[in-house]
């Protein structure tokens, strides 16, 4: 590539990154605006939209509900997904491909189909409008990310370490607890983070299962957006961006650290 072509290429890449990040970043200054409307640049600094968020129970109740549902989904999908990932990676059984397809399918099946399917069935159990319905539904959507992350770390575990423990007389359970588990912990942690984010951000299932009594934060935002895109939404968005980004970066740093430690140990 010539010098001109190279520069043009770099400019193009920078522009595409700007397109990816700019709309997310623009929301942050808007949330601190002292103005009444969404004007840019904001006329001055104010925390009024955050005060608005934190003092209205409609917003805070939804936020708490989303956090609780998210935490329960995280626990449930980690407890179900981790053993399943181990079984899929280490085991060999009839129908393994089918099981794998079932577990990963919520990623591909259009959200609306899952949402109305759950609505159809859960309504007859009287679950609509109850947080339990959201926990049950979100877990199905979150569990693929647990299985994917745990499997990928499990593939990287040196099996000779497990054989060594077993040959020294450790029981399979002790081997798992003391050898395998510490090695796959970063994968479990990353999976848990993604499970939480999946549930915390989920809207379509909530749209049909929330009713009027279990309104999650995304559901509240959806109603507000359709009514008026006021700057309170910018403050909620900023909070969500901060939470998601710090969780993501945290999981990523942890993964890289464990990778370094692992390769360092093998190298020694």
């Amino acid at each position: 590539m010539g010098a001109v072509g190279r520069i043009a290429f770099y400019v193009l890449v920078v522009l595409i990154f700007a397109y990816l990040l700019f709309p997310i970043l623009i929301v942050i200054p808007l949330s601190f605006s002292s103005g009444k409307y969404l004007t840019f640049p904001p006329p001055g600094f104010s925390l009024q939209w955050y005060v608005n968020f934190f003092t209205r129970s409609a917003w805070t109740d939804s936020a708490w509900l989303s956090i609780w549902v998210g935490l329960l989904v995280t626990v449930l999908s980690t407890l179900l997904g981790t053993p399943a990932a181990i079984g899929l990676v280490r085991g060999n059984f009839v129908g393994k491909r089918l099981v794998n397809a079932l577990i990963l399918s919520p990623v591909i099946v259009p959200g609306i189909i899952v949402a109305i399917g759950l609505y159809f069935a859960y309504a007859s159990y009287g679950l609509v409008g109850r947080p339990l319905a959201l926990v049950l539904g979100h877990t199905a959507l979150a569990v693929p990310f647990v299985v994917i992350n745990v499997s990928s770390t499990l593939y990287g575990v040196d099996r000779r370490l497990e054989y060594a423990a077993l040959s020294l007389g450790a029981s399979p359970w002790a081997t798992f607890r003391q050898v395998t588990l510490p090695l796959i912990r970063p994968g479990i942690f990353a999976g848990a983070v993604f499970a939480f984010i999946t549930s915390f951000d989920e809207l379509l299932v909530a749209l049909f299962l929330s009713g009027t009594t279990a309104v999650t934060l995304p559901r509240r935002m959806w109603e507000q957006i359709r009514f008026d895109i006021d700057p309170t939404l910018a403050s909620v968005s900023t909070l969500l961006i901060t939470i998601t980004t710090s969780l993501m970066v945290g999981a990523e740093l942890l993964r890289r650290r464990s990778e370094r430690l692992r390769t360092a140990q093998i190298g020694r």
């Binding site: 290429f9 193009l12 890449v13 595409i16 990154f17 990816l20 709309p23 997310i24 623009i26 929301v27 808007l30 840019f40 179900l80 997904g81 053993p83 181990i86 079984g87 899929l88 085991g91 060999n92 059984f93 393994k96 099981v99 079932l102 990963l104 919520p106 591909i108 099946v109 259009p110 959200g111 609306i112 189909i113 899952v114 109305i116 399917g117 759950l118 159809f120 069935a121 539904g137 199905a140 569990v143 994917i148 990928s152 497990e162 054989y163 077993l166 399979p172 993604f194 379509l204 995304p218 957006i225 359709r226 895109i229 968005s237 998601t244 980004t245 993501m248 970066v249 999981a251 990523e252």
Partner: protein, 287 residues
């Protein structure tokens, strides 16, 4: 003692039993996810007896076909634009230092994991009639009256590409990363012009990533609901929204029939993906 150890070793080679470990999750998914969805889908062919009436009626429905056409058009545009934008980014990531690439991939992944609602809201703020872009254009005197940007096809495509771009970048990046770059250098060394190198060598070699990315983006695009519902106009009614509207008036049979059609289309297209790449690769910690 010795025999006990070796039997332990043998049993551990296939830890308790794979199927047993996966069983709780499989049962969970069958009860709380697969069964509800299949039960709902069955409403398209069963109501006090088996019938194909619902499908027969659906296939004659003009609105349904119109919405399918809109959905297909939008998804196709979004896929093509994603490809054009993602390729340079993936190429750049594959060619720069690993530490830089790791950092930039986090930048690609942040929008990926940011709530779709937040991203769509941001576009509404940018594109609205009194939005940032219109204000900027009016203030600088480029236009006299604000443009209608929101609730248009353009808005739907811009916002959907923004949401789906990471799904295109990641598979192409992973293909380019594992490429034998000596082939490119060889072509250059033999005097091929940059464009020829790209067309004759680089592009064919990146085809697996390109096709995987296109299939993934297209299948995800045809199922979109939130973004077109918020930034689209009446002419941008996509199939998911139509299904949702039908459910909201509790008219289940046509909703279920449309869901069957949508699901079959998605599964057929996605079957192509599984031949190229494992879906897990997209969602793992990227390298």
């Amino acid at each position: 003692m010795l025999s006990r150890r070796s039997s332990l070793g043998a049993s551990a080679a296939r830890l308790p039993s794979g199927s047993l470990l996966a069983a709780p999750l499989v049962v969970y998914l069958l009860v709380f996810y697969a069964y509800p969805v299949l039960l709902m889908l069955s409403r398209s062919v069963y109501e006090k007896g088996w019938t194909l009436q619902v499908f027969a009626k659906l296939l004659r429905d003009v609105v349904f076909w119109r919405v399918m056409q809109i959905t297909g058009t939008i998804s196709l545009i979004v896929t093509i634009v994603c490809l054009v934008l993602a390729y340079p980014v993936a190429l750049f990531l594959a060619r720069c230092k690993q530490s830089t690439a790791n950092l930039l991939i986090i930048l690609v992944l942040i929008p990926f994991w940011t709530s779709i609602l937040v991203r769509t809201y941001a576009w509404m703020v940018l594109l609205g009639r009194r939005g940032i872009i219109n204000n900027l254009l009016v203030d600088t005197g480029l236009i006299d009256h604000p443009l209608t940007l929101l609730n248009t096809r353009l808005a739907v495509c811009v916002a959907m590409v923004h949401v789906l771009l990471p799904f295109m970048v990641l598979p192409i990046y992973s293909t380019l990363k594992s490429l034998d770059w000596r082939l490119i250098r060889a072509a250059e060394g033999l005097g091929a012009r940059p464009l020829a190198v790209f067309r004759e060598v680089l592009l064919p070699l990146s085809l697996p990533g390109i096709s995987a990315g296109c299939i993934l983006v297209f299948t995800l695009a045809i199922g979109f609901y939130i973004t077109p519902a918020l930034v689209g106009g009446p002419g941008d009614l996509m199939i998911s929204i139509l299904i949702g509207n039908q459910v909201n008036i509790l008219d289940w049979p046509p909703a279920a029939a449309m869901a069957v059609v949508l699901l079959v289309v998605v599964l057929i297209i996605f079957a192509g993906f599984t031949r190229i790449m494992r879906i897990e690769k997209i969602f793992q910690g990227q390298r």
